[in-house]
Amino acid sequence: MKRFMKFFNRRRSWSLPYVIFMAIFVVMPLVLIMIYAFQSKDGSFSMENFHRFINQPEAANTFIYSIGIALITTIICLILGYPAAYILSRLKLSTARLVVMLFILPMWINVLVRTLATVALFDFLRLPLGEGALIFGMVYNFLPFMIYPIYNVLQKMDGSLIEAAEDLGATPRQVFTRVVFPLSTPGIVSGIMMVFMPTISTFAISELLTMNNIKLFGTTIQENINNGMWHYGAALSLIMLIIIGITSLFTDSSEDGANEGLL
């Protein structure tokens, strides 16, 4: 009992329950994905799932198509979001906070409801559903994720740097390209990541926005899991995980707490 109390009184021991919890519910499941991915149906080690992915054009094509859609979405979000973040960072702080809140507010509505609302909007405007609707829906869903981190970095930027550049004779354009933009790269990087990663893994949204005509990689994974093809599904998940791992490698070095606390 005494030993227990001593253990309990050391604050670092308090992390133990969570460490155990994470070992079971975070680490082990990921290990399981890896084990399942390298197993054939009978449970023996095999590469057959990956062979199948490479040799089956449908899944591989969906994969490449999804990356393309995710890239387009990310680029559009960046083009639309950067000016917005910049304008926000020039506003009075209280006004800016209010507008940022307005940008984040729609995210409190269920993604599926928002997506169905987009479908309704397209119906309402008599626009056809399909690729255009898919990209609109993706941008619509993920734009706030781009604006927020960039705004965060721009807003914290030291204003005297801009003044110094101006004093030293830089034109407004130079101030932007030489000072503001380079300094905002951490925000851009985490914005790209926060848009690219969820877009590449979405499912359900694409079915609704394209009336089941366009399938994204996420949907392929979901279908395989639902149809009991766990091993193949796990292999596809692993492929997605690798892509995401590569993406986050790019950002690891430049991340500067740009995406702290969305609330």
């Binding site: 604050r11 670092r12 992390s15 969570y18 460490v19 499941p29 940008f103 269920n110 998940s237």
Partner: protein
Amino acid sequence: MKKILSTGYLVLLLVMLYAPIVIIAIFSFTESRVLGNWTGFSTELYTSLFSGGVNNSLIDAIKNTFIIAFVAASVSTLLGTVAAIGINDLRYRKRRVVNFVNNIPILNPDIITGISLFLLFISLGITQGYTTVILAHITFCTPYVVLSVLPRLTQMNPNIYEAALDLGATPMQAIRRVILPEIRPGMISGFILAFTLSIDDFAVTIFTNGTNGLETLSTYIYADARKGGLTPELRALSTIILVVVLVLLIVVNLRARRQAKQAEQAASFNGKTIG
């Protein structure tokens, strides 16, 4: 001119973001089954939502959503706070490792979290249902609680805790009387964040809710939409959720603003007495 342009741009983006939502809100006041068909003003959808005019499965889904969110957010807040207190006292390597693993569920796409937990429950032979959904939600909510509590602890002066011990407090008392009041705002925002994440979740739930027909609002809407149309009452429900969230955010924001002002006043008052 420049100002008008930039304001105009923000307004344009906001209009784009809100257009779909506004359409839902407008069409929640008409009875038509198909979204986009205006058949005259009526509050029928709202009355039917509250008087049980909708089928039981929707009501069940709403109930399940809130029960799961409440349990998951409460457990996450408890687990995450205790963990944060521990992590704050960890050093170097261990702390880095724990922080790294804590970030995994945040960075992982929902679908991966969902599938990996699905495989876990399958391998352990656990029947999926309420328990598994709640466990899954705790898994992706707790990291956010840790992240909102931990900064409060690192910003805290560590000497205050030591002082409490020196003055004869037991470690338990010191944590309750000294640390807890400091981290309470972080716990509250962690709880709110966990709650909203849980309510909003779709991808993780759909892989862990099993085959016994446990539905949350998200999975219900998904099934509904695949059948070819949204239950009209959901438009009313979404509008209500939006308004509630809007009011909540305004209240939270006003409170934060008032607190900031008070802190400012207190600071300037202290400055006067010292100076």
